[in-house]
Subunit: 318 residues, 2 copies
C-alpha cells in the first residue's frame, strides 16, 4: 500500500511532518510505503537534518504549497502544482491508496470533492472525531465539523457512515448509534433532530438506540456513534479541547483527561468519498503527524470507501 | 421583600426544600421573608423534624403538587391548587416578589407565561447558565435550554437580555457579549448564527465582541455573555456537567473543576418575564435549594424585570 502525505501542510511544515514520517516509518506494516508530496529540496534538507534515509520513502515533487491564509476553495485550483493538488491527482489515478495532510482543511475537502468525489448516494461526506469514554473505549462523533447546516436525511446518513467506520476501522460489532439531543426522550429535540430521529428510528442500516444527552457522551454506556450536525459537533469537540487545556493548565494529572489530547488521534478521515482522505490538525506535532499516518494506513486497510459503496448499493436495492 | 418557594418541587421534596429554607434563613437580608407554598401539614412535619421554628416563615397552603410525570403544560391548568399554580397566582398579585422552584421546569415556564407573562417586546424569554472561568470569574451562557429552535432576532435579543443580567445581577460593567460559533471569524457559522451575527454587530443595545469558539468559553478572555440557541446551550451545559462528573469519578481534586458543580449556582432565573422566577435543578440538594433562594433574593434586589422593561422601552423609542 502507498500512503501519500502532504509534507507542506501544517503549522510546522515541512520539518515536523518529515519527523512524523520518520517516526511512523518503523511502525508501518512491511508492505506500506510512504509517498511524500512537497518541494523535493525542502524535503531532502529536512530529511538530512533529521538523519532519515531518503531511500525509505518516495518523493513526489510539488512546487507550490497552499498556505493557511489562502482561500481554501480557490487555492486548490489556483495552485495546481501545490502539494495538496498533486497529492489528490495521484490519489485519483490510484498512484497512492490514501492521502493525508495537516494543512488547510478547506483545501483538502475541495481536493477530495474535485478529484476522488463522493461515493454515489452520499448526500454529504462527513468527518468523525473520537471521544474517549470512561470505560476505556472510544466513541465516534459525526459530523465533527464539515457540515454546519444539515438536513434530517444527512444526519440519518451520518449514522450509517459512522456505523460503517466504527465497525470496519474500530472493530465494533453492530455499533450503537445515537442522536445527540437536548433530552433522551424521543419527543425532545429541535426541529432538525426531531425529523432526523423519525428517519433514524425507521432505518435498517444501523442499530439506532435513540437520543443521547450531552452529559452521557463520555461514559460508553449508551452509544458507540453519536450523530449531530457539524456546527454542534464543532462546539462539542472544541469544548472537549478546552477541558483538556484546562486540566493541563490546572496541573490535573489524570489518565482519562489525558485522552482528550488530539495528538493521540492524529486526524480524521473524510467518510463518504471514493478513497482514503485523512485531515490532520493544523497544529499537528511530530507525534500527531505520526498518528495521522498510522491512522491513514488503518483506514486504507479497512477499505472504508469500499464498505461505504457496498452499503449504499445494498441500500439502493433494498 | 417576600420570596416565594415551592416546597413540593424537586426529587427530595418537601424535606430537602425545607432544610434548604432553614439554611437560607440565616443568610437572607433582614427585610427578606420566605413564603413556602405547599401542603401545610407536610411542611409543618418537615419543619418540626428539622427543628425549624415555623414562625420564621409564612406558609401558603396548596393541596396539590405537580409531579415530574405530569405533562408540564397541562399540569399547570389541571392542578389549579398545586404549589406552583398557587405560587404564580401570588406572584401575579404581587403578594410575593419572586418565586422559585426545583420542580417541573415545564410547569414553571407555563406558569410564568400564563400569569406574570413576558415583558412587552421580548420575543422569547430565556434562561442563563453560569460558566466558571479560569480567571476566577463567571460568564453567562444564554439560552441554556428554553428555546431549542431560534430565529436570528431571538439570539440577538438574548445578547441584550444576558447583558442586562450580567450587569445588574453579576455586577459586570459593559459586559462583553459573544456569539458561540464554529469559528471566530465573522464568516464562520451556520445559517442561524451568520444571520444573528449580522444583527448583533449592528446592535447598539450591548457590547458585541464577535464570535467565540467552544474552546474559549472557559477562559474569561473573550466574553462575559455567550449567546447560543437553547439546543446548543443544553448540550454545552450538559457536557460541562459530564466533565464535573468525570472529574469526580476519576478522583480529580481541583478547585476549578469543582466550580462546575451546579449546586453552587442553585438555579437559573427566567430572563424576560415580568417578575422574578427562578428554576432550580430537579435533583437539588439542601445546598442547592439554599443557593436557589439566595439567588432569588439577589435577582429581586437587582430588579431584573424592571431593567429589562426599561431597556426595551428605550429601544422602542430609539
Amino acid at each position: 500500500m502507498r500512503i501519500g502525505i502532504d509534507v507542506m501542510g501544517g503549522d510546522h511544515a515541512p520539518e515536523t511532518v518529515v519527523q512524523g514520517v520518520m517516526q511512523a516509518y518503523g511502525e508501518l506494516a512491511k508492505g506500506s510505503r510512504m509517498v511524500l508530496f512537497g518541494d523535493k529540496e525542502k524535503i531532502a534538507t529536512a530529511m538530512a537534518q533529521a538523519g532519515f534515509d531518503a531511500a525509505q520513502v518516495d518523493i513526489a515533487h510539488a512546487t507550490q504549497a497552499i498556505e493557511m491564509g489562502d482561500h481554501p476553495a480557490k487555492a486548490f485550483q489556483q495552485k495546481p502544482d501545490s502539494s495538496i493538488a498533486v497529492g489528490f491527482h495521484a490519489l485519483a489515478k490510484k498512484e497512492i491508496d490514501g492521502f493525508a495532510s495537516a494543512g488547510s482543511t478547506g483545501a483538502m475537502l475541495v481536493g477530495a470533492m474535485y478529484t476522488v468525489k463522493s461515493v454515489e448516494g452520499v448526500v454529504r461526506p462527513c468527518i468523525p472525531t473520537f471521544i474517549p469514554q470512561a470505560n476505556g473505549k472510544l466513541a465516534l462523533l459525526v459530523d465533527a465539523g464539515l457540515n454546519a447546516d444539515c438536513k434530517p436525511e444527512m444526519l440519518c446518513q451520518f449514522g450509517m457512515l459512522g456505523a460503517i467506520y466504527a465497525k470496519n476501522v474500530l472493530g465494533i460489532e453492530n455499533p450503537r448509534v445515537a442522536l445527540l439531543s437536548n433530552g433522551q426522550e424521543e419527543e425532545k429535540g429541535n426541529l432538525l433532530t426531531l425529523a432526523a430521529h423519525a428517519l433514524m428510528k425507521n432505518s435498517r442500516n444501523f442499530n439506532f438506540v435513540g437520543n443521547i444527552e450531552g452529559n452521557k457522551i463520555y461514559f460508553g454506556t449508551i452509544a458507540d456513534v453519536i450523530v449531530c450536525d457539524g456546527f454542534v459537533g464543532n462546539i462539542v469537540l472544541k469544548q472537549a479541547e478546552a477541558m483538556y487545556a484546562l486540566a493541563h493548565e490546572q496541573g490535573v494529572k489524570n489518565e482519562f483527561f489525558d485522552r482528550f489530547n488530539y495528538e493521540l488521534y492524529g486526524g480524521t478521515p473524510v467518510i463518504g468519498v471514493n478513497s482514503t482522505v485523512v485531515i490532520g490538525h493544523g497544529h499537528s506535532s511530530i507525534q500527531a503527524v505520526k498518528v495521522m499516518i498510522l491512522q491513514t494506513e488503518r483506514v486504507i486497510k479497512a477499505q472504508l470507501a469500499e464498505k461505504v459503496k457496498i452499503a449504499l448499493n445494498n441500500n439502493a436495492h433494498a
